[in-house]
Symmetry: D4
Subunit: 249 residues, 8 copies
């Protein structure tokens, strides 16, 4: 429940269109709702400007549907991350308007058209083709949170002229999300070119001492460029989320 | 064989209802029984107040059944942990009274109604919905060992008001088991609220640098709250066990 | 400020011996006091039954003294952990009644004779002579928190008859703290002998793949005995603290 | 050389007060200057809105002074990070206007009064007293880069009411920097309270499995709150820098 | 080709029963034979008293059969380790006399009855039932290399009286192989009881911070008993092999 | 597009056989081509003497085919690494001239007979039979890049006479690629025998503390021989590539 | 107290030269003696054929002297390991017959001339000059335990002909101790040459990814030669000890 | 002893100027010389084209001097690496012609003017000023081995135009050595620009998750550029050595 919904509800009470009792009941569910296996945090939209996002991994399809049913009456948008195709099919059969994004492994269910909230443009860059699924998770998240987004894929440092060719786009972005696996060098180079915050996302792409993305993560944390902050390995969602928070300022 | 059974047996001898020979044979099996692939520790009930618990992982269904058959004549309760559904089916077909708990991956076979042994209440908290299977392993163990138990799930620190809402329950508990994956922060916050021992259980829930639960484990061991002790990753059983030991004092 | 002090203060108000204004001023400091570099948590004695303990590492002597000065009017006992001899000398020159324990690297300042709070006896065992400093930190902490304590040192598993010789002491203890470095095997053996909670403390004693105590820590977390919970490497203080919490039940 | 300086210079040429030759010479040094052991990046102020910052570790005092001498004619502010007291004394004797901040181990040399560039307020929180040096590095950096800053120290999760007492300050901040060692739980809790970007800084405070700050780092990267991005262990400077970048948007 | 075969061949030459040419051809293959994907080391029996053992992992069934065919004319015994059931079936269909041991995942093909070579008895102990497959790999190896072997399984330290019950067997052994997973404590306890060499074998049994056997390995390397040397995780074969080498002295 | 192709094209323009417009269009694609999910780097052949190599892992068959279609008109040879049989079948059905090498998991598509570019001979040695797939990836790469190559497999240090038997071959090589898993000792021994550069390739062959090849990698980096440089675990391709670069000098 | 001393004492009783009372007092101390900070294990000579060895690290000079005073009346030889020069001086001033070996950091105090107990010869090989201190710890230990010992230093695999030059010595040894840092390859090569047990000792010599000896350790555990068992990093003492145990068989 | 010296000696014999006896004595020392603590490998110059290099770490000054004395009569150049100033002073006082390079911590003693052996130019690049000592170790080694060398320092990726400014130098080099700490990204970018072999040297410069250089090392091994091979952390010597080997081809 975001601030608009809250005001609407209070307006209804003021105008006598909603009984105090009913309003009270609705608001008493505002803080959170305990459905045994989850405490759904209805207050989050008010507090953080975006509803709780459902982390799909380790939850059964039934649990995910249950949480969504609890949220649906209160929220304009519901997102599920890290959900595989099989669970997704169950969810879609219950919420036919929900859309499954197979590369990004996300479900997005929108009840009301999105309002632009971000001020500038968020640009998502990926070092390789294999990093695209993570980049898309970031892109979809930032988009769902009401931002103008753009993307350039496969511009890793082994052929650095490919990156420089997009210099204009890079210079125009308010916030940059840079996604890279292997040696994770791209964020350092990009951050050295701009005076904007760069959110670096390491991916688990690679083998041997890529160590499931640890090498890219550590490289990004050790960047000799200073306008970089980092999120967890393969955490495109988190990158999109904080980029959206930054872009709202 | 617990102390009551032992006394009963000696009473039978004293009253002439059991021959010395038969009693002797029974007691000679008391220490342990060697069934080739296992030394079943019959003495454990006497020594530790609870019979040996069968660790299912790495054992065949046949081995598990064999050990249970050796224990069954002597024990009131038999527990098997970390057993999957397939092995479980074999075991149940042999011991139809045994109950399989699929989330917790445990089998519990009770021959006699449980006696309450714990004094206070043991409260199990979980940070997320995905941590519930581990939380339930703890819950079932503490319950099987004769304790009053209660649980609250999905009260992680990202929406900390959900936790504070249960303050009364938290204050009433004698021992608290706090189960969390990801950054493992919940035990620190809970322990800061109470003057009771907190058993922290890290779970392997998460991805990237959750490192299969190592991050949650290390965070819990580094807690700035001091009334915390920690068990192995996903070791709900161990948490329930030591909580029961503490609650008996 | 513990519960007794609080009641006393309220009694004074009730009897007119303390003005409401003065009482109010005192109580307004009850929650915590902000002295720039620290938020001293005066409320902790009430909430947790023992005042905040000052973690000496990374604090200057001046900061430690400042925090102690803020606490002194309210608390019966003040403890500082992980403080070296040099800083300790500064502290003692300001608080001459404070006692520095060089092996355990603790300062204890007692304003009022201790009251026994624990019910049973806490036994501290160490595997080797080199583990004694950590064992003593545990011992001093449990003692300071009002418990009967006893200790047996250097009874590691390489000569296991030394341990068995103390079986009676072991059987009598309510809570056992077992301190070991190197392979960290002692807690498993001890826990296998008793039906009491065992708090295991790994130490950084060893070399090569002792890995600064990680090996002992991991061994203890993997114990095949179930009545074990573990604290951080060399965290004698934490072990003593939670043992005291358990012993109060 | 920032944009103002550049325009001034061009104005001088336009007005005939500076010969084309001299201007050309000045501008030819604009890109960078090679002084054997360093390529001083004069272009950085233009490109990134802040001059190159000198990383003191591993450089001799002579090298640091040499780089500062190359920068001084072109820049309004020069910062040196990770410089110890001894090297600092050499630097100060050459640049008497430079100020050494011993806790943060930084030198700041300001040639011109700072202009506010940030829009909102940057709030720096620390979990413990021992984390203050890192927090101050962040504070000084954000301040030097032209931001309104504020700080609250020692509000860790073991006594969480201390944190909640500062809720108003927390709600007002545009960007939050949260500094914590040990289990690194504070950023998760803070981020759960606000809809602003949180920059989390792990510190190396702790012992045993704090692993020199790795545990706090990993915990922060695994936060169950999504509006968090993380910088390297003890990297207060980087946190202040990116917070300033965000606050300029 | 062992020393006996070599002498026999030379005898044949001496007695004129084998032409010099034929003997020369045979001996020219003695050093090794290059079959493209392998250099079969025929000299090993002479040099080390036991033929090359085929490491099955990462080899195709065809490659294994090829190597066996190259060895068969020269060796009395051929062993294949780490071979799964499927590959094993291929091998057995080609060498019907070969025997597959499913728990130990070994194939043993014996062309001639074994001669006892070891002097004393080799005793294999396992801490748990789940460690038996590794223990059996050790047992089968030592047996195949001509030693008297005996075994006791499931005598871990959580019920240490089970171990002490076998004291006589333990005291009689010349070499002891002690197999344990989890915290790996059994070798320390056993080694403390005897004046014989103990070969410790860590297993990957366990979960969480058992780290795939690293914890047991490190614990064994850090044993406070000194008559212990260690082999790789799950390397029952290596333990049996070096025990056999020791027992021949 | 390599230098020969470029010259041919310019020649066509010079001779009027190609319109300036068409040539311009062709050359404008020279730098790279953006096909949404990839920036194909056509400039690489010119810059590095060999076209971009397609890293198959994490790409769909469709993406691989798409990139190959973009490259095919410009390049004489196209290589795909780390591609499994299933994806390979899709690729081959589209490019019937492409050859799949199942052990090395590579596809090589040659449009024009190879020209020898390397000067000396590149020798590939493997320590074991199980290391052959990685060795073959190196061999095929070096061969495809125009070098004379030779190989000797299964000459590990446990029977070092097998290695010495190939001393002549070893002495004649210009560059040596040494592939080894487990303890990774072979490169040290080989490098000690020659005055040529040795490229060491660790493989993930082994178990327990082979740690997926980390042990072999670290051993090679710590070699007491100095004429060794190392590539990533299982990176036969990279070894072949840099060996080819060296052999061209 | 070894078996000879025990028999002598009983003989004295039998012959009436020692009163039963005095003998009883002596024997009652046989098991162990509790001197507060240590449980000295007098029974060890009887049980293990060699008295307890004092691990110097983490003990004060006073504690070491105290333990030695408790042992001196009962033992023919006392060894202290890992003792630095400063502590050593204190010990020598109390026990002037004790000898300090500075490279090996050992003290050996012999009360009675040594008797040869080992049957064959123990050979200690070191890969480099820097590994000699660890090699000497092994040598001195094996020597002190009554074995014929010999050594060859600096025969690492970078110049493998140096090793082969000592082939005769190598062939004659009963047990081989091979000490190596860096890549730890020497034990594999040596073990491939002999049919004797090889005890491998990794050292912490090296830098970078030698990881304080972990790389050498892991390499040795992964040896492709099978007659190898390994002790802890820098544990020359343990290697000498188990080699002596083996050589007694 | 290199090939020229050997031929000279044989010439002397041929011409009767050197007796067969004396020549024989000289040559018998050719293989190696055993001076107790070292087997000096005189054969190495012949075998590898450069004499043994003395690794200073872990050797006493006396041992280093002793080895140098054994080498001096046979070699034209003697190098000592990783030697600190104090040991260096001892060495210089014995060999006054030896030169100590304090940044690189090397001693070089040249008896005869160097002959150019390398064909092209070796270029050493460093990412930062703090990486210079390692870069200089590489430079001095390559120079001492008879190569034309050049260097560019402080051209890290945070200001990548500094690197591109040296494009001509980069294009002209035969072999490139790229030295970088922190995120270790420079080698990838450089290797993407050239068709020459790049030897990457990670340094231990950095803090936090630079992990003593492991992050830079892993990043380099995971480079998305393929013409890279890597040496150990801070191993400037090894990089210079293999670059010289490559440059001789």
């Amino acid at each position: 429940m975001d601030k608009d919904r809250l005001k609407d509800l209070l307006q209804l009470v003021a105008s006598g269109k909603l009984s105090v009792e009913d309003a009270s009941h609705t608001l008493s569910h505002l803080s959170f709702e305990d459905i045994q296996y989850a405490h759904v945090d209805h207050h989050r939209s008010l507090r953080k400007g975006f509803p709780e996002v459902i982390y799909g991994q380790g939850k059964t399809a039934e649990q995910i549907i249950g949480i969504m049913e609890t949220m649906a009456p209160h929220e304009d948008i519901i997102m599920v991350t890290r959900i595989d195709e099989e669970k997704s099919n169950h969810v879609i059969s219950r919420f036919p308007n929900a859309v499954f994004h197979p590369a990004a492994k996300m479900i997005i269910l929108t009840n009301k058209p999105l309002q632009k909230q971000g001020k500038g443009k968020i640009l998502v860059l990926s070092a390789g083709t294999s990093d695209i699924p993570v980049a898309q998770e970031a892109l979809l998240t930032a988009d769902a949170m009401g931002n103008e987004v753009e993307s350039v894929f496969d511009v890793g440092v082994a052929g650095i002229h490919r990156l420089f060719n997009h210099k204009e786009l890079i210079d125009q972005a308010s916030v940059l999300i840079v996604v890279a696996g292997m040696e994770g060098a791209l964020p350092s180079v990009v951050a050295g070119m701009v005076s904007r915050p760069v959110i670096a996302v390491p991916t688990s792409i690679g083998y041997g001492v890529s160590l499931g993305g640890l090498t890219a993560l550590f490289a990004m944390l050790n960047s000799c460029s200073s306008n970089i902050a980092v999120v967890n390995i393969d955490n495109g969602f988190g990158a999109g989320y904080i980029a959206a928070m930054i872009n709202r300022l």
